[in-house]
């Protein structure tokens, strides 16, 4: 048996791109004479050479913004997608040549609440998926009772899923993945759309599952979640893993950097350019906060105290106003900004 739970080597996935529309709204398809053959389609690279090894019993977080290639990577590992090139093994099985064995060794949660049948009860859903995962009926009944108890759905298990909250549906989706007691779990954005309490409960469940010996590959764009749960994190951007380490190791990568967090009203792009030019400022990201007209700005610096006077002077200019300012230790988000020059939510 392979020493790695999951091993991927130089995984690449390219998708044909749709023909772009021209100015008249018509698709710009070109045909080649004399064979009247359409020109080869342009390819979009969603994953560009991902290599990783995940240890048995580890929680591995794949962190990146939307469209970074997290879901495509996970879809290749769970055999829904065939890689354009590269190889990967799950529990020692090749994802292309031994796809069925890979599926037997995986519990996967994709698309959360939409992955189950809303016109069936929670219990009926689990009975159905137990049969799909080849669990003998008598064993399945016992296992379903166990999972329903564990996910605190006993009172509502025989109600239609359409009457459940998002958190309850997600718990059924996770139970579905756990039915056959697979050694490896792939969880794609498991807390997306959950309220804070439900998300917290789910994180506790993920930690418990690790204690029971499951290997977990988790994709998320919530940095706190990745930081809290993961033993190691791979940061992915534009289809490439740009950093891979423990959460602490990643934070140490930005060395002695401190982060100056600003809240500014009346922000405009030119101020950003001026701040970037200040001596000691290594990187900057700015995004609009939920409050009206307020922007949150992060400045990376090796000596934050030295840049403060220049920051205050630059910001309090031409009607722009500094509302708040803090110096904080770097988070994973700051690591991401430091590596890519943009925020996770951009």
């Amino acid at each position: 048996m392979s020493i790695w739970a999951i091993e991927a080597e130089n995984l690449v996935k390219k998708f044909p791109q749709r023909a772009k529309k021209d100015g008249n709204g018509k698709k710009n398809k070109k045909f080649r004479w004399p064979r009247f053959k359409r020109e080869p389609k342009a390819l979009f690279t969603a994953v560009d050479g991902v290599s990783l090894q995940i240890e048995r019993g580890e929680i591995f977080g794949l962190l990146g913004p939307n469209g970074a290639g997290k879901s495509t990577t996970i879809r290749m590992l769970c055999t829904l997608l065939e890689p354009t090139s590269g190889t990967a093994h799950v529990n020692g099985y090749d994802i292309v040549k031994q796809a069925n064995q890979v599926r037997q060794n995986l519990g996967t949660v994709l698309a959360g609440e939409r992955s189950i049948y809303w016109k069936l009860t929670g219990r009926e859903n689990l009975e159905y998926f137990a049969a799909l995962y080849h669990i003998p009926p008598a064993v399945a009944r016992k296992r379903i009772d166990e999972l329903i108890e564990r996910t605190e759905l006993k009172e509502r298990a025989d109600e239609l899923v359409e009457k459940y909250s998002t958190g309850m549906r997600q718990r059924i989706a996770i139970s579905k993945a756990l039915l056959a007691r697979p050694p490896i779990l792939l969880l794609d954005e498991p807390t997306l759309g959950l309220d804070p309490q439900a998300a917290r409960n789910l994180r506790e469940l993920i930690v418990d599952l690790q204690k029971e010996g499951h290997t977990i590959l988790l994709t998320t764009h919530y940095m706190e979640e990745a930081d809290l749960l993961s033993d190691r994190i791979g940061i992915i951007d534009t289809g490439v893993i740009i950093a891979l380490d423990t959460p602490e190791g990643l934070k140490q990568r930005i060395g002695q950097s401190e982060i100056v967090k600003l809240e500014v009203s009346g922000w405009y792009e030119k101020i950003g350019e001026q701040l970037r030019q200040l001596k000691g400022v290594e990187n900057l990201s700015a995004h609009k906060s939920s409050a009206d007209g307020v922007w949150e700005v992060s400045l990376h610096s090796t000596d934050s105290r030295a840049i403060l006077p220049g920051v205050v002077e630059t910001v309090n200019h031409n009607g722009t106003q500094l509302l708040n300012m803090n110096i904080v230790r770097p988070s994973l988000e700051d690591v991401f900004i430091n590596l890519t020059g943009k925020a996770l939510r951009d």
Partner: protein, 287 residues
Amino acid sequence: MTTMQQSLARPGFTANLQAFWAVTRREWTIFLRYPTWVIALFIWPMIFPMAYLLTARALSGVDGSGLAQFQLNTGVSDYIGYIAVGTTIWMWQNIVLWDVGFALRNEQMRGTLESNWLSPTWRFSFLMGSTLPQMVSMAMFMAVAVLEFSLIFGVRFEGSLWLSLLVLLVSIPSIYGLGFAFASVVITAREAHAFVFLVRGLVMIFCGITYPVTLLPEWMRSVTYLLPQTYVIHAMRLAALSPVQLADLMPDILSLIFFGVFWLTAGYLLFNWMERRARQTGSIGQY
């Protein structure tokens, strides 16, 4: 970290059969949870043929004086039974195209296709398993149609029940094989309403659902004999409305067996092609 307990899965032939049965049960349970099916079951067998029946009545005259020509063309005097059989078979094919043809597409739009695809179950089971409940509902549909035509319109089904059931049985592979082929194309194309309209239009015009195909121009007749529904309608009219023997039906039955093998094979091959293509393009998860 504790040691992982052993997997509960016991793969094998029996496990795959249980999975197939689970798909069937799921589909049937969901079908029953939309109560409007009861209305569809009683209303549709009457609604669609009604327009044709009233047109026929207008053309034949209230006293039926215009029916002589119809009898000359078809060899049948009961035009209501003649139309009832044709339109019921048309509705069968039409419903199969919508139900079976869109079975996987509906799962795709619901978001559940991926979670099925993630399991180690033989993937063709998902299509076949959803077909069985459809067959049961169609059997109920046809039984209601026979009852309604007998009780309301006084149609006398003077043929053999067993021969009619035999015709239905040998029709299943071609009718559903076409549905399987459709389901596979729909999942890739993601939009196939135009195809459904095309096929049901072809059946309506070329298969003689309300008139004998011998009335069609010669070029149209050559198309007619390429469509299995022509043989289904012809054989069912003979079996249900006239006192015939098995030998009289054999040409149609043999043709239907041939078409059945062709369409089931085509359906299966297209499904496998779609499945491979979906793995390359990721179309399974696309809405």
